[in-house]
Symmetry: C2
Subunit: 202 residues, 2 copies
């Protein structure tokens, strides 16, 4: 992969700035799809568990994972486990086959030592750092082999608990007049209301 | 906006299937940016609060919001409030100015009555529904005026509590040997370990 790759360009457009973590997630996602022998999720065929959280270095990783795997925040088939680790577990929901793809320590160390991260530590927003300073780190991630970037565990078969069925019914809140999905309707003094109206003090 | 628009095409690529909800989020995001008079977030300049949850109709809305606003799951500046409502509040983190953009009931009703949703209710995955059946709903959302799609509240000034600073430090787990961000390091029998190793029974 290189910076002319469609997947990289689309990821960059979504993400909004150049950095080495988004491509790291992109590569992890592609490696996981390959290991499972499955296609990107057009709907909810796959689930992605990412071990990152928020407010720490390289969370941008998850945007690359979304772009590569089609497991998205909107579709609801990607979840953060909150361990502060740069690891993806990709699950094929139909077969229960899953693979864990962990970024190698040396790859993270290399990123941590990059000029890019020195600026980020000083509080410079990623979009204000010159592309020339970021490109070496990005190009390394895009070009390196899966083997050198990731420790890919053997495929596991896991037993999935079936998710809740999608709720397609809606109601109109009798207080604010806005629509809500049925599952989120609450009753307050005999009226059908949305959660914010239910929780408002009378 | 129409289906040739760059933003729509990028949103579709991320999202993975054609539906009316992703473009609804796209339009909501663009309307919110316009109302605040701000640009798409290249970094973490904006925060998006979406009132949807998971496992219900039209959660795909959030993928459009991400693509339009640059508030992404990876960057951590988008959050689901879990009310089952198709509403976006976009916040300019610097000024505290925010705007709430609620999808009009008639727009949601129109989507609910579309052929697309009749198939979805029968359990047909979105990617398996013919584009000709989805296009009318998508084209309506893309072409309609902001005024007809959304109820846009007046700008509010809100007081933001500053987020946690980004943690750029990392450690290697003395049990599994994988890297974790410092904030997620735990101590177990005197050893520095990651959360999964800390929680494993001895």
């Amino acid at each position: 992969m290189n910076q002319n790759d469609e997947l990289y360009k689309a990821g960059l457009l979504l993400h909004g700035h150049k950095c080495p973590a988004m491509p790291m997630g992109l590569r992890a996602g592609v490696a996981a799809l390959k290991a499972l022998g499955v296609e990107r999720a057009t709907d909810g065929q796959l689930t992605a568990l990412v071990e990152i959280d928020s407010d720490h270095c390289a969370t941008c990783y998850a945007d690359g994972v979304m772009m590569a795997t089609g497991c998205t925040f909107g579709k609801g088939n990607i979840r953060k486990l909150g361990y502060g680790k740069f690891v993806l577990t990709l699950i094929d929901n139909k077969s229960g086959r899953s693979v864990r793809v962990a970024t190698r320590n040396e790859v993270i160390k290399r990123n941590q030592e990059s000029e890019f991260i020195q600026f980020r530590k000083k509080g410079v927003p990623a979009s204000k750092i010159a592309a020339e300073l970021i490109n070496p780190a990005v190009d390394f991630i895009l070009a390196e082999s899966d083997e050198n970037l990731f420790k890919i565990d053997p495929i596991q078969e896991i037993k999935l608990t079936p998710g809740r069925p999608h709720d397609f019914n809606t109601h109109i809140c009798e207080e604010c007049g806005e629509v809500m999905v049925e599952r989120y309707a609450r009753i307050k003094n005999g009226k059908t209301v949305c959660i914010p109206c239910a929780e408002k003090s009378a």
